[in-house]
Symmetry: C2
């Protein structure tokens, strides 16, 4: 099981946005959409053993957590617009606790701390950081959770919450990459093991 947790520091938390303006008025939701693509898509199908949790932390109703489970997800396409429509639909779902929005897609008001505490204790946490150990020399178990920022690094407070789980810091190379590219690189490394 591979799990990606991506912080959308300003990502919109209502369905009040237009699919025609995903970069402008969504608090960079577009970054998270590309992360969904990188997490799941292969040439010939969808990765079943992957889960992504998008932490939407922007206005007006933070936090919203959208969880996508590759083993059950349907109607997922690689383009940004159609994924945005699925997220928008998720943000329309009223209720309490974690609600199923469409096959394999769930929404909740879980905070970042709750999301981390819900991750299986069997899962080793990894924190993508430029000063970490090169991913190519890191050992991985059967269940791995990768935590990363969007276009902004984790805040000091977010990093402190994460540190309680003793994450291993890993680096992907000598340059800093976009979050979706990071996910592609992590998936490739794990595919090779």
């Amino acid at each position: 099981m591979r799990r990606f947790i991506v912080m959308g520091h300003r990502a919109i938390t209502s369905a009040d946005f237009k699919l025609d303006d995903l970069c402008g008025a969504t608090g960079r939701l577009d970054i998270l959409l590309r992360c969904v693509n990188s997490a799941f898509f292969l040439s010939h199908g969808i990765r079943k053993d992957v889960e992504i949790q998008l932490m939407l932390l922007g206005e007006p109703n933070p936090p919203k957590t959208v969880r996508i489970d590759g083993s059950g997800v349907k109607y997922l396409n690689p383009d940004e617009r159609s994924t945005a429509a699925l997220i928008r639909n998720a943000l329309l779902q009223k209720g309490e606790g974690e609600r199923k929005c469409s096959p394999g897609i769930y929404v909740s008001e879980r905070s970042y701390g709750e999301v981390l505490s819900n991750v299986s204790k069997e899962s080793k946490m990894y924190y993508l950081s430029e000063d970490g150990e090169d991913i190519r020399t890191v050992e991985f178990g059967k269940d791995s959770t990768f935590v990363m920022g969007d276009d902004q690094d984790l805040t000091d407070a977010e990093e402190e919450v994460l540190m309680a789980y003793e994450p291993k810091k890993i680096s992907l190379g000598p340059i800093s990459y976009h979050a979706d590219h990071c996910i592609t690189l992590v998936n490739n490394e794990l595919d090779r093991r």
Copy 2:
């Protein structure tokens, strides 16, 4: 210099498409848009040493070749829609030979054979193929050109044209990836050298 040549086997060759329906009626232009993102974007800027050539081979006016030069490109954003608008603008430019459409973006009617023959002879050609040598053990020079399909492999005829340049077949891992993910993996490998 890194150069990516991506075959858009059915990609639309007129500006007669809507930015709201990039997956439906553009012959999978959306794949090429994501390739542009992977080719150029870093966390803190645009790769200046990269060029991408998108071979648009679909109806109604094939071929159209859109060339984007990282050393001069402006107004490039990471999302699909805004890149589609730049490509659509390129497809509107009438004229002969290669025309500049916007800073760093050029359009021409060059065929695939012409595009390959215009690549500097100093550049080593690489062909992404699942039965190639693992990219991690391949030696690279200072100028490398990578040729790949969109969601379809190169046709036999396209492969034959390429073979005249004695490309080296390289593989990225045990699984077949989307073209944009391939570009991310190639860029990372070259960043590490």
